[in-house]
């Protein structure tokens, strides 16, 4: 359980030194992408179309923020993570195609993503679900927004962050998955729980 402060772009070497249960704070650039942005990014990749940002070494944040447009530009009001498993069908290809190093979300991801993380060098960092004000506090500014036609929650919000976290590393590049470990231990207790509840 070591705490790290990382700055983007993050190298593969740094990522490969992280282990499950480590705590990470990010400074630099992160961008939001939910279901529809993942789908479009992969469509563009297939069509050899360049993305509006270069995601290599950056962090993807599974988040549909509340943002407000002011005289001076966009302002983040609240920006907590959304459930990551919805992106499980895209994430392995996303990691391979774009070289992102940290996937940030809540609830964990499955074995396909974990396998891609092991192969290409990436980690999953769990941000506390619902802690949207805590997240917004460390977002210094919105650098840009792309794909706003997808709607506020689904657009690509590119953000400058300072000490964004704490992120609990819950899938590391060795293939360890904290959520799977918890599931296994819950499963072991199921029979005893039934028994105590008189089932």
């Amino acid at each position: 359980m070591t705490t790290y402060n990382l700055t983007t772009p993050i190298s593969e070497e740094t990522i490969r030194s992280l282990r499950v249960n480590d705590i990470v704070y990010i400074t630099g650039t992160i961008f939001t992408a939910r279901d529809e942005a993942h789908e479009r990014a992969l469509e563009w990749f297939e069509a050899k179309k360049k993305l509006p940002i270069n995601p290599s070494g950056l962090c993807v944040f599974h988040c549909g923020p509340i943002v407000r447009e002011t005289d001076t530009g966009w302002e983040v009001v609240a920006a907590g993570p959304t459930t990551s498993t919805r992106m499980e069908m895209f994430e392995d290809k996303f990691i391979e195609a774009f070289g992102v190093r940290v996937i940030i979300g809540k609830g964990g991801m499955g074995f396909k993503t974990a396998a891609a993380m092991k192969k290409f060098g990436a980690v999953y960092g769990a941000f506390t679900g619902g802690a949207a004000v805590l997240a917004a506090k460390t977002i210094r500014r919105i650098i840009n927004v792309e794909w706003l036609d997808l709607g506020m929650p689904e657009a690509l919000w590119i953000m400058e962050v300072e000490k964004f976290g704490p992120l609990i590393i819950s899938i590391d590049s060795t293939g360890e998955n904290l959520f799977e470990m918890v599931n296994t231990s819950v499963e072991k207790r199921r029979a005893e729980i039934y028994k105590q509840a008189g089932i």
Binding site: A78, T128, G129, G130, P166, M181, V182, V186, R190
Partner: protein, 292 residues
């Protein structure tokens, strides 16, 4: 009684609901942090409590998912403007979306269009109850999507009975794992029918954390399930720990001899709710929140 007074009061009610977690819930989270033995779980509960306090101080939404807007109305039959309440509530939701702001969360399931103001077909959803007298109680329950996605209906058989109910609830909680942002609050409705048990289940989410059912047998079931769920080890955010659930509330309706319906409503730790009592001469008293 002014329409604008009611509209303003409902905007305030929504602001209180999404920015200021009721004291019973934050107290429940604080007590959980004291008892928690898992280090990661402690850090999650710590982040949650810090977030709650920041949202309260800055009066901004504690979670970016400000939910689908659901209201419970206990309307005195002598309260004026009863027929105007749906339009007043709709306008208040539209204003709250801009003023607080709330995330625009209503999507037409057929057309995939989001009108951007948190209203649309059937939404905001209003549950009506006509009561004696001339007061109006409005309860706002902004309901997030992550926890709503793991609500369940179990059409059990009478043979499965209460044992089956317990297994159904425990299995559902284990299957949903991290998804509903634990520690959760569970509402369980038993009996009635498919729609009735779900409706009762969701109404349970209006009860304060720590309140037990008046019927000791039902209270015992609540405690038994709470302790069983907290032995799963799912923990805050599914990262492991002692705190998976803050409370379980159960209520029952008579059942058909052939049926044993069980409804399970799941609420995330951001268990947002706010209520206000409005008299017919235009005085508003907030019940869940202290307002200067």
């Amino acid at each position: 009684m002014q329409v604008s007074f009611l509209e303003d009061t409902i905007v305030t009610l929504l602001r209180l609901a999404v920015t200021d977690l009721p004291q019973d819930v934050s107290k429940g989270l604080e007590q959980a942090l004291e008892k928690e033995r898992n280090k990661t779980a402690k850090s999650q509960l710590g982040s949650i409590l810090e977030n709650v306090s920041l949202a309260r101080k800055q009066s901004i939404p504690m979670c970016q998912d400000t939910g689908i807007q659901i209201f419970y109305l206990n309307v005195g039959s002598k309260f004026p403007l009863i027929d105007k309440l749906p339009i007043i509530i709709k306008r208040a939701v539209q204003r709250a979306t801009k003023e607080i702001p709330l995330r625009p969360n209503t999507v037409n399931p057929i057309l995939h269009k989001n009108p951007g103001d948190n209203t649309g077909l059937h939404i905001p959803w209003i549950n009506w109850k006509i009561v004696e007298g001339s007061d109006l109680e409005i309860i706002a329950l902004p309901k997030g999507g992550g926890s709503e996605n793991v609500c369940q209906l179990g059409m059990l058989t009478p043979g499965q009975g209460l044992k089956g109910m317990k297994q159904f609830v425990i299995d559902s909680v284990i299957a949903s794992g991290a998804k509903p942002c634990p520690p959760t609050i569970l509402g369980i409705g038993i009996g009635g029918g498919a729609d009735i048990c779900m409706k009762i289940a969701k109404e349970q989410l209006l009860k304060p954390v720590g309140q037990r059912h008046a019927n000791p047998k039902i209270a015992e079931l609540e405690e038994e399930l709470l302790s069983a769920i907290n032995r799963t080890g799912i923990g805050p955010m599914g990262l492991g720990g002692d705190t998976t659930c803050l409370d379980v509330h159960i209520d029952v309706a008579m059942r058909h001899p052939a049926s044993f319906p069980v409804g399970l409503a799941v609420q995330c730790w951001a268990a947002r709710r706010a209520s206000v009592l409005i008299t017919k001469d235009g005085r508003a008293q907030f019940i869940t929140h202290k307002v200067d």
